[in-house]
Amino acid sequence: MLVVLWGAATLAFLALQLVPGDPVDTILGVDAQVGEQTRDRVREELGLGLPAWLRYLQYLGGLLVGDLGTSYQARQPVAEVIGSAVAPTLQLAAAALGLAVLLALIGTVLSRGALRGVVSAVELVAASTPTFWSGLLLITVFSFGLGWFPVIATRDASSLVLPALTLAIPVAAILGQVLREGLDAAAAEPFALTVRARGAGPLRLLGHTLRHAGVGTLALAGYLLGSLLGGAVLVETVFGRAGLGRMVLTAILNRDLPVVMALVVLSGLVFAVLSQVADLGARALDPRLRDGTSG
């Protein structure tokens, strides 16, 4: 877990070194009419004159105490800049995840019956549709066509519905596919036959197999996080919502590298924590994983 974090931080630092151009230009603006003296002062403030390995150590040391650096553009600590944008994205991602799980479960239940082929075709299309298109379609139909939801983001909860749905669609499709495959695999195992032989109906059986399928689905946690975070950049742009995704885009366009780096490190952190949690979850679901002797 620490390796992932350290790797992400190193990658981010390397990226910063590779960016062409003088950071001072980014901070002051390329056309800024300032003397060489001012530029030198800014450079010194940021410690840009120091050798790279020393700055690398300083950077790692800063990370250890939670210092993510200073935004070139906002001239504020990156932690503050990110903190101000984190809430709307978390809201969006949480709503999308909830919706996705719900949709995946509905799909799973429906696919038990005759609709199996239909469900898997829908899943295929849903997984293939880019969010920046499905979002525009949803706006066209539900905002402009039916007028159910506002076109632009407001503080209202109703403006969360379409973005969350947009972000949820591909996630639900992948989740549904993996869940269904896991359920089928579990239903083919001898224990499922035992359960059925005891006279359990399909619903009771689902209660047993769902636990098995859940282990495989948990392994997707990292992938899902990626879809949600990466998708947030696009979905927030489509719907004109404020949030982390928009912030990273602005930071990239303005070459505000400290902000971009911090987001890379943070997403590495979230991934590492999530994998641990998923691991623990898998252990809780599957006793065979607990005593180290995998079955």
Partner: protein
Amino acid sequence: MSAVVPGARRALVLPRWRPGAVPALIAAIVLALLLLAALWPSLIAPGSPTATDARAGTLPPDSAHWFGTDRSGRDVFTRVVHGAGASLGLGLGATGLALVAGGLLGALAGLAPRRVDGVLARAVDVLMALPEFLVALLLIAILGPGTGSVLVAVALAAVPAYARVARVRTQQLARSAFVESALVLGQRPWKRVLRHVLPNLLGPLLTMAALGLGTAIVSAAGLGFLGLGATPPAPEWGVLLSEGRNLLGTAWWVAVFPGAAITVSVVCASVLGRWLGGRR
């Protein structure tokens, strides 16, 4: 020979024909049509994708303009057809680059001494921990916006996934009987790699690439949509979508058709990829 040695060369053998392969066949035909549009767009849509017509602004789809026109009277159908080259080219180019780079990197890691392999494997793990799209964005931040940057960024973001598969497969191959017999027969190491390892990597990697093509197309179009790729008058699908976004209230067709083109390409690539992967 393949009957004797499991895992021996069957790199480019297609799955046997079965009635269940009809979706894959349809997908292949659609992809071939899209490729035709990418290579010779004027065959399908003879007009110019950038010609404006002030009298024909934001016309809905009809028999003259199948997909309607945008605000400056450009024909959306022509623009979508001419955009295939840029969008599919980016997807195919990035996938090809990632396949070659990832395959070589993985093969090298798989054959390298344990310490080198360990470092490379950890590096791949770290990169896999970051969302692919975020890695692509980070690379764009380094390279600056532009079509070339999008190609490189999407390709590099996908490299770790290919490298991981290639590494594991190489390690299996290096232990397999037929590679060992080549060793016993006194074949030189580089020849062994060229002759036995790389050809056997191709099969799994190509299957992966067919599935990865869809992701690459979506990522490239997404970067274009965000304004980090091709510059606006150029008819790239992502750019077309972002132009259409501002006209949603008045002219839905400007955004809907380019997006449909992306989705159709990705669906076809996935269907074909799954068939090659032997899942259906």
